[in-house]
């Protein structure tokens, strides 16, 4: 017992440099990436309008969109599963709100609540199939990607003979729940900013004199709330420990009495919930639901999560990291436009960032698990 390995402080462990220790934080890649991205765009697009109030709002909103679905995807990925039906779920939820609220004429709050229940029920089905059959979630949710997208195109065509249902803005006028998703906050503050010349105001038309940014959209509020909630849930609660455990090694977790199936199913439901938040915000803002909404968003969510340091194999990751990944994604996507880069090159940048993130993550895992 009194050998070098266990008595006193192990002299070999000490050699770890502080850099390597810092690398073990899953958010580190995200933090570095964010800093680099902002420095680059300050240099190359600083005077392009990217950092005026309109520009900031533009990439913030896009990043917030990514964040909302990334939080769901992140927790699910840490729990060891994927959800490829996120994009289709966005289209489907939006369409259901439109069908309930416009075609059937229900009050919007009811349409939203019923849609949320439906979406979470579908998430539950996703989870049940994965847990019960033991099939890879990749395949199961791929099936739902097609099923939901199919219904999203089919239903409005049958009901309204078109693939876009509009008129939701009128239907949602004055609805208490509609405002929670489609409204804006701090309007007075932004008006004050506009009046005092801090931010630009519209020059002409019916809105002349109003500030170009007239409030923080609820979309951003939702994103921040979900990120905080997700982070606290993951790092500060019993359930969070179970999420890590379920994704790290489901069998080991079961042996320790963690209800792995319940954890996974609830994460599928949460992923569907996040997709529906995204869809509801979008529908309330734009006033219409279309069959093309949310295409490929599942991959964007997964990319944001991976950039944020989560491991594709589950068991490791961070909600804050995923949020930073979403911020990087949004800033790069919109920033390339501001910088005047040919837009078809966006995918090249995305690929490079993704590859870099994955390589860094693999390196991090080697450090953690001590593999060589």
């Amino acid at each position: 017992m009194s050998d070098a390995q266990t008595s006193g402080v192990d002299e070999r462990v000490k050699q770890q440099s502080s850099l390597r220790k810092a690398l073990i934080r899953p958010e580190l890649g995200g933090i570095c990436g964010t800093v680099i991205v902002f420095i680059l765009f300050f240099l190359f697009a600083g005077d392009s309008g990217m950092f005026n109030s309109q520009g900031v709002m533009n990439w913030s909103v896009v990043s917030a969109q990514f964040m909302i679905i990334a939080v769901g995807a992140c927790l699910l990925m840490i729990a060891g599963e994927f959800d490829l039906s996120v994009g289709s779920m966005i289209g489907f939820s939006g369409m259901m709100i439109a069908i309930f609220g416009v075609t059937l004429g229900w009050p919007i709050w009811l349409a939203i609540i019923v849609t949320f229940l439906m979406a979470m029920a579908i998430g539950w089905v996703n989870g049940m199939i994965v847990v019960r059959t033991g099939l890879p979630s990749f395949i199961v949710t791929l099936a739902f990607l097609f099923i939901l997208r199919g219904f999203t195109i089919f239903l409005p065509q049958v009901i309204e003979r078109k693939t876009i249902i509009g008129g939701i803005k009128d239907a949602a006028e004055g609805d208490w729940l509609g405002v929670v998703f489609g409204g804006k906050i701090l309007k007075g503050f932004f008006q004050w900013l506009g009046d005092n010349g801090v931010i630009a105001t519209f020059e002409r038309g019916t809105r002349a004199g109003e500030p170009v940014v007239d409030g923080i959209p609820m979309l951003i509020v939702w994103a921040i709330v979900l990120v905080i909630l997700g982070h606290v849930l993951l790092t500060r609660t019993k359930f969070g420990n179970w999420i890590f455990a379920a994704g790290g090694d489901a069998e080991a977790a079961r042996n320790s009495g963690v209800p792995v199936n319940r954890v996974k199913i609830s994460m599928f439901m949460f992923s569907a919930f996040c997709a529906t938040v995204f869809a509801t915000c979008q529908v309330m803002e734009f006033g219409s639901a279309g069959a093309d909404r949310g295409l490929l968003k599942e991959f964007e969510a997964i990319i944001a999560v991976v950039i944020g340091g989560a491991l594709l194999t589950g068991g490791y990751g961070s909600v804050v990291g995923a949020a930073l990944g979403a911020l990087i994604f949004g800033v790069v996507q919109q920033g390339l436009f501001f910088a005047g880069v040919e837009s078809s090159l966006f995918r090249v940048f995305l690929g490079v960032i993704l590859l870099g993130a994955v390589i860094l993550n693999t390196y991090i895992r080697r450090i953690i698990t001590g593999e060589r």
Binding site: A22, I153, K162, R207, F286, S288, G290, G340
Partner: protein, 316 residues
């Protein structure tokens, strides 16, 4: 740590600098941004890219082409917002969905950016969002005109191969054609998807199941090219009445070979080229045409194909 960061930043800057310089080099005069709703995979928009590039060269202005990579219109709304925030002189955009795009376009107009609507949307909608004008081909009317023409040629039933079912204007083309024929659209429109092999097989399957179909209507090269292959394969080529929207290499060959009866040319080149010219002149000299510009429809048949053939897919 810091040194790694520095190296990374430097490396990225070195890589990105030429890309940024390449696109920023031509900037002397005004700046115009064209925003389309087309996904990256839609080859028809190449003509549009060439159109604005040529106009940019000729007028000495900076032009940019932007589109949502997946064709998601909500993403397109963000791109318009972004374009407005970058402070160009004008934005040329399609109005694929009024509900989604009218807000961002109106905000752009209100913040002092001139807007011209091209391609999708209607002249009425263009006026409502405060755009200077509309340049394009009213889709329903074009479909209707094509339907009347086909009816004159004795067609009574058809298959509409819709490769872009998400876009209302695509459906309007089919609907207009059906109304022109005086028949119910019903199930004569199929959602073909974007993949050539899928489109071909779906057309084959439909024609197999409905052998009495008298005409095929395709909505662009994306659906026309595989449909040509399908007709070749089942031996209906040259026999079935075949009309298509838009032009492309294969379509031109089909018209020449007598497989395609006509192509409706909405002349996308004009839709991209004219707005740049119009806006540049408006901003430089204050002159503006008094009305909307209809770039189409023009029916292209086997007669007079020379120029079309030469520039198909590039400017036609």
């Amino acid at each position: 740590m810091a040194s790694i960061l520095k190296k990374l930043a430097l490396a990225t800057a070195v890589v990105t600098a030429p890309l940024m310089a390449a696109t920023g080099a031509s900037a002397e005069g005004e700046k115009y941004i064209l925003v389309s709703h087309a996904p990256d995979s839609d080859s028809w928009w190449n003509t549009i890219k060439n159109g604005i590039a040529l106009a940019g060269d000729q007028m000495g202005v900076e032009v940019e082409y932007r589109n949502p990579p997946t064709g998601d219109l909500a993403d397109m709304a963000r791109i318009i917002e972004q374009a407005a925030a970058s402070g160009p002189n004008g934005i040329i955009t399609t109005l694929a969905d009024y509900d989604v795009l009218s807000g961002p376009i109106q905000n752009a107009v209100a913040s002092g950016v001139d807007v011209i609507i091209m391609n999708s949307g209607t002249p009425d909608q263009a006026r409502e969002v405060g755009a200077l004008m509309y340049v394009g081909q009213p889709e329903y009317d074009a479909g209707y005109a094509a339907g009347l023409r086909a009816k004159g040629d004795g067609v009574g039933s058809f298959l509409c191969v819709n490769h872009y079912i998400n876009s209302p204007s695509s459906t309007e083309r089919c609907q207009g054609f059906a109304d022109g024929l005086g028949v119910d659209l019903g199930s004569q429109m199929i959602d073909s998807g974007q993949d050539p092999a899928e489109i071909k097989n779906r057309v084959l399957a439909y024609l197999n199941a409905n052998p009495g179909t008298e005409a095929v209507l395709t909505l662009g090269p994306t659906s026309a090219d595989p449909t040509l292959l399908a007709l070749d394969e089942n031996g209906m080529a040259g026999d079935i009445y075949f009309g298509t929207f838009d032009l492309g290499d294969e379509i031109v060959k089909g018209i020449k070979g007598g497989v395609i009866n006509w192509g409706i040319d909405q002349q996308p080149f004009l839709q991209a080229y004219l707005p740049v010219v119009v806006m540049t002149n408006y901003h430089r000299y204050g002159v503006l045409p008094g009305n909307n510009i209809n770039s189409g429809p023009g029916f292209v048949t086997a007669d007079g194909l020379t120029l079309v053939e030469k520039y198909a897919g590039e400017f036609r």
